[in-house]
């Protein structure tokens, strides 16, 4: 069965510094990979996805993610973090008619 791992529970970063949220995946065949963000008391919002093509995927709010097949990773990145980026981030992989989500990473951007 497909699965993702988000190894860090929380990521702390200073405002203006680069932000990276890590995700590794396990799936049979070509992966469809997704990142979502959840702000407090809100539903999950779609950020970006990788289906095929360029390994660097650009998404909403200045986020991008790099697909690395050899390392089975799909890390989320932002060159310069904002305080408003503080939220819960979920990685997901598609398979068997559903998405398998990671446990989420709490990102805290420190002013």
């Amino acid at each position: 069965a497909q699965s993702v791992a988000q190894p860090e529970d929380q990521v702390n970063v200073a405002e203006g510094n680069p932000l990276t949220v890590k995700c590794t995946y396990s799936v049979s065949g070509n992966p469809y990979l997704f990142w979502y963000v959840q702000y407090p008391n809100r539903g999950l919002q779609f950020l970006l996805k990788y289906i095929t093509g360029d390994n660097l995927v650009k998404g909403s709010y200045g986020f991008e993610a790099e697909f690395n097949k050899s390392q089975t990773s799909f890390h989320l990145k932002k060159p310069s973090a904002l305080v408003s980026d503080s939220a819960l981030y979920f990685c997901a992989v598609e398979g068997n008619n559903r998405l398998a989500f990671g446990k989420g990473n709490q990102v805290v951007v420190i002013p």
Partner: protein
């Protein structure tokens, strides 16, 4: 233009009572999903539906019942609520393209407290 809505947004109930959470989407997406979100567990799939009258179990289906008589609605019923079902419940919908799941879009969630 509502997209996907859930009702109620907040619910307090007592152990043993039946509770129904509603989900409605306006996109005519074929797939709909119910998740629960709990600290330390992330999102766990309860049930999903590929089309009207087609439903299937997810990771944690026990104690829940779903139905889908219309494409746009996917209610989730807790037949006899237990304290362990206190959680935040999210509904989502998506389409399928070339045999693969497309992006899922989520509702705002229902916070359920079972006393």
């Amino acid at each position: 233009d509502a997209g996907i809505t859930q009702s109620p947004r907040y619910k307090i109930t007592e152990t043993g009572r039946q509770v129904t959470l509603m989900c409605h989407q306006t996109w005519s997406h074929s797939y709909m999903f119910w998740y629960r979100q709990d600290l330390g567990h992330g999102l766990r799939l309860i049930y999903y539906s590929a089309a009207a009258d087609i439903t299937d179990k997810g990771e944690v289906p026990d104690g829940y019942v779903v139905s889908r008589s219309k494409t746009e609605n996917f209610p989730l019923t807790l037949e006899s609520a237990t304290r362990s079902q206190t959680s935040v419940y999210f509904c989502a919908s998506s389409d399928r393209l070339a045999g693969r799941q497309e992006t899922q879009y989520f509702g705002p969630g229902t916070r359920l407290l079972v006393l």
